[in-house]
Symmetry: C2
Subunit: 142 residues, 2 copies
């Protein structure tokens, strides 16, 4: 499984918005980009995509920006990754049924299940707590 920059950015953006939650004031693109270390111009498109997916809400104009449309606890990491990056194991090639001896697809199916078991058990609330934990450690280190 290759994690594209796009998926990675999307994850980080969503994490930043989750860390911002439940603050009502919208978070601006530039702010998200800065905190998440994401190219601003690129983030624009990702956020639009996230909006189309119903994960975030936007407000235009002055004081505008983005907020999550659900609580972080309702956003499942695995589901999100699948929506953003496509299915985990898209075997690009599924030749015509002639392949009676397709011994491989069951394996990919099992792989997909194994992955899902890991990632479908994580919500962005978990990630928020983890991130907060990590930054506390950081404070201690300084």
């Amino acid at each position: 499984m290759r994690i594209s920059a796009r998926s990675d950015y999307a994850c980080r953006a969503l994490l930043e918005l989750a860390l911002h939650w439940p603050n009502k004031a919208p978070m601006q693109i530039g702010d998200i980009a800065k905190r998440g270390n994401i190219p601003t111009k690129y983030l624009v498109h990702i956020l639009i995509h996230l909006k189309q997916m119903g994960l975030v809400k936007s407000t235009r104009g002055k004081e505008g920006g983005y907020i999550l449309s659900k609580s972080p606890g309702e956003i499942v990491f695995g589901k999100f990754i699948r929506q953003i990056g496509g299915p985990f194991v898209p075997v690009a090639i599924s030749k015509k049924g002639a392949d009676k001896l397709n011994v491989f697809s069951p394996i990919w199916h099992d792989v997909e299940s194994a992955i899902s078991e890991v990632v479908d058990d994580i919500t962005f609330q978990d990630l928020v707590e983890k991130a907060r934990g990590l930054s506390e450690v950081l404070v201690y280190q300084i």
Copy 2:
């Protein structure tokens, strides 16, 4: 995880060679390509790669071709896939250590482990038996 055509072809080629095993006579590229439904010209490169990996041996000239250099039971599917297609979860982006709040990498690590547990438990001997089982079913159906 995206399975490239290349990886898919490599798997199928190796399976054909495994089905051929332990026949001493080498199997020719054209033959492998035909049985595995693989573009011949492309298969050339894959076989060279497999040879460099030490999985197959080649004989040039008339009556030349390829055979496995180990028994199918010694070839682990997971290891093979990793060698051919690269690591399962190469997060292309591992920004400078500044990312203290990298809450994602542990997840990818867990995913990688989960995948490995599935695919490292399968050898090409297993696949051969499965394929033979499937073709028997085929015979019955005819």
